[in-house]
Amino acid sequence: MHKQNKFTVSHAPFWHDGDSIGETNKNIMVAALPAIVFGIIQFGMAALGVICLAISSAMAWEALFQFISKRSIKIGDYNAAVIGMITGMMLPATVPWWVVIIGTLVSVVLGQQVFGGIGANPFNPAVIGIAVLSLSWGNYFDFDAALLNYQFDFTALVPLGALDHQGPAAVDLFSTQGLLMGNQVGAIGSVFGLGLIIGGIYLIIRGYIRWEISVAYIAGIVITAALFQMSNPEAYAGPMFHLFTGYTLLAVFFLAPESSSSPVNLVPMLIYGIMGGVMTILIRNIGAYADGTLYAILIINLINPVIDMIRPKALGKGVNNA
């Protein structure tokens, strides 16, 4: 027998659709670009600095933690970059550098790595980071104060903050169109509603997020806000105002559909999304916080494993053998 080649031997299937974690994350970053670029135009180079620092520090934290915990270092899959990017998108442009670095530390390490890394996080890592920051250094999340030195040619007030203080009269200060086009004060990546919608639709069409979650989330927001408004138009703002302010659109397309912390079956996805929308409005209208999105996301992340048990019967299960 002559000398033989060595062949690759492995188990079927021998084909793959070519998707990968890196590819998915790259697409999420591309989808976030319109919102981020607009944020940089609106808030200047400071915003660029925050985003860059957030992405790079998140990757550094992941690499460091993986090194310490003796796992293989996998920052090349952009997983930490996406977490850092989304954390950065939720920060105001003027936030001090150390807040960014602590934020990404909490996001990447406490939010994900301590649970076992990618795929094991029960909560959205970026939301964990921002929730911890906003509880610890809440003054930096007072966007009105943070952006005091900016000159805007629109109402320089945080819409939800104004709503909280002034009641629905504040709604008249903002036009829906203006909110959609980013004429509002807020976090770097959350002000440009249209950009977030474009990014979200891109992700949905490419199949990188589950559209059911986003649609259900929007439905939850719209229905709950509309019910509140119908019950008492004097006290509550309408659904469109809620939809285009605060972190809502970011939550709809980037926070809630985060794959590890969200369900995969149809009915659970709808419950999860609607719950997210309902909780957001409940916290905003009844709770103490002006923007309840962060806690709404954490609550639906919490119920995800339980509701995802609702699933169709597998083929041939529960049929009589007779």
Binding site: M1, Q4, N5, K6, F7, T8, V9, S10, H11, A12, P13, F14, W15, H16, D17, G18, D19, S20, I21, E23, T24, S72, G116, G117, I118, G119, A120, I204, I205, R206, G207, Y208, R210, W211, S259, S260, S261, S262, V264, N265, R311, P312, K313, A314, L315, G316, K317, V319, N321
Partner: protein, 434 residues
């Protein structure tokens, strides 16, 4: 390789290849001087084999490994056994291969045509089990056989394969004879013919029980044929055969018809060979021919680290040597370039849900794979429907984290079977002791 489309809103639908219009006759591969015959039985060094090195075999002679063996392989030509060696397959499956060096006499064993006198299952099972297409005679002839329906599959079992479709379009008369023969032998009248809907000579099958299949891969899976066309819902944890449906390749029916016509077993098998460039060629080779003979005759070259796929891209297996022989159920050989091979990873599941959306059996693959990775096989069956899996391989095909899910599933099923066997043995010893 079919890549993900730009739009990923819905789960991808994989389509089976259809046989090209006006297919050419398969190229004949001359019988090589040495044939490699596979025996589905492990070689036991403590027992004495009844065939030995140096023994001669005649054409059509059945070769048994041990005296008490029930498995056999039929010698496709007369010659001398020059080697008996163990062969290791997937999941520790052991088999034995025999090398048969042919002499030039091509001498038939005596009394070979006796089986053809009266077509019945027992005598056919005694001689024809290793016919091309591997007819499931053992299953049909079993005394407690519960088979009530037979589906003869003219549609191939995997994406790129077109062997069965080719035979369906070329040998319609023999197919009809084969079906009549099967009906006579088994007494089963419910014989269905599964054919591609787009076949050009569909009318030739008029008057027969036909099942028309689209190119959709999922629809060609046996369990799906059962569910969609025979109205039998597959029960998790049982095979189609357990539920009384026997699937058989069209080549098996053809070989039976030919064997009864010639009053002797036949040994040549049609195989679709697909090169690195995707070029499709068909050959006719004798069972036992090492595949390097086929590749060299077709001028197909292989390099280090390429992959030799036998069967198909989703459900096949990869051979580790070019001396792998043609076997009765081998429909396709695909050469995959080393650069085309998608890698697997050691990532955990990221819960993207693509597997759940594509799974035709509704298995919660995202949860199942976590239990399989942790070797929790009983839990995997009890709570996460491991037994409902119908082995299509699509979950691994779409996995974003590139987890070898299908391999985990196969391993899980294998381990589960071993556990069950162990438990049964324990209970038996307990019962004996009591």
């Amino acid at each position: 390789m079919i890549k993900r489309s730009f739009i990923g809103l819905t789960a991808p639908r994989l389509k089976c290849d259809l046989v090209e219009p006006g297919p050419r006759e398969p190229e004949m591969i001359p019988m090589p001087p040495r044939l490699i015959l596979m025996l589905d039985e492990a070689l036991d060094s403590t027992k004495e084999t009844c065939i030995r090195k140096g023994d001669t075999a005649k054409k059509g002679e059945r070769l048994f490994l041990y005296k008490e063996s029930t498995r056999y392989v039929t010698a496709p030509t007369s010659g001398t056994i020059t080697l008996i060696a163990p062969f290791t397959g997937d999941f520790g499956k052991n088999a034995t291969y025999l090398v048969l060096e042919k002499d030039d006499k091509d001498e038939w064993v005596e009394g070979i045509s006796e089986f053809a006198d009266v077509p019945d299952l027992a005598s056919a099972d005694g001689v024809l089990r290793t016919l091309p297409g591997a007819p499931p005679l053992e299953l049909l002839a079993a005394p407690n056989s519960s088979i009530k329906k037979i589906v003869i599959s003219g549609m191939d079992s995997d994406l790129m394969s077109t062997t069965r479709q080719y035979l369906t379009s070329k040998c319609m008369d023999d197919v009809k004879n084969g079906i009549e023969l099967l009906k006579n032998m088994t007494g089963i009248t419910d014989v269905f013919m599964a054919i591609p809907e787009k076949m050009s000579q569909l009318s030739a099958f008029q008057g027969m029980n036909t099942i028309k299949l689209t190119e959709d891969y999922i629809g060609t899976l046996p369990q799906m044929i059962m569910k969609n066309h025979l109205g039998i819902t597959p029960v998790a944890g049982t095979t189609c055969e357990d539920q009384g449906v026997c699937f058989m390749s069209i080549e098996a029916a053809l070989s039976l018809a030919r064997a009864y016509k010639d009053k002797a077993p036949v040994f040549d098998k049609v195989i679709t060979v697909i090169g690195k460039d995707g070029g499709v060629k068909r050959v006719r080779a004798v069972i036992g021919t090492p595949i390097h003979r086929i590749l060299s005759q077709l001028g197909l070259e292989t390099q280090e680290m390429d992959r030799i796929i036998i069967g198909g891209p989703l459900k096949g297996f990869s051979a580790y040597t070019l001396y792998h022989p043609v076997q009765p159920d081998m429909d396709t050989i695909i050469i995959q370039d080393s650069e085309q091979i998608p890698g697997v990873s050691d990532y955990p599941c990221i819960n993207c849900g693509k597997c759940v959306r594509i799974c035709p059996a509704g298995v919660p693959v995202n949860l199942l794979v976590r239990y399989l990775e942790a070797n929790l096989y009983q839990e995997a069956v009890d709570s996460f429907d491991l037994d409902a899996c119908i082995d299509c391989g699509l979950c691994s095909y779409v996995c974003t984290a590139r987890i070898p899910i299908f391999q985990y599933i196969k391993l899980g099923k294998h381990e589960q079977l071993m556990l069950e066997a162990e438990m049964e043995a324990e209970m038996e010893t307990e019962a004996e002791n009591a």
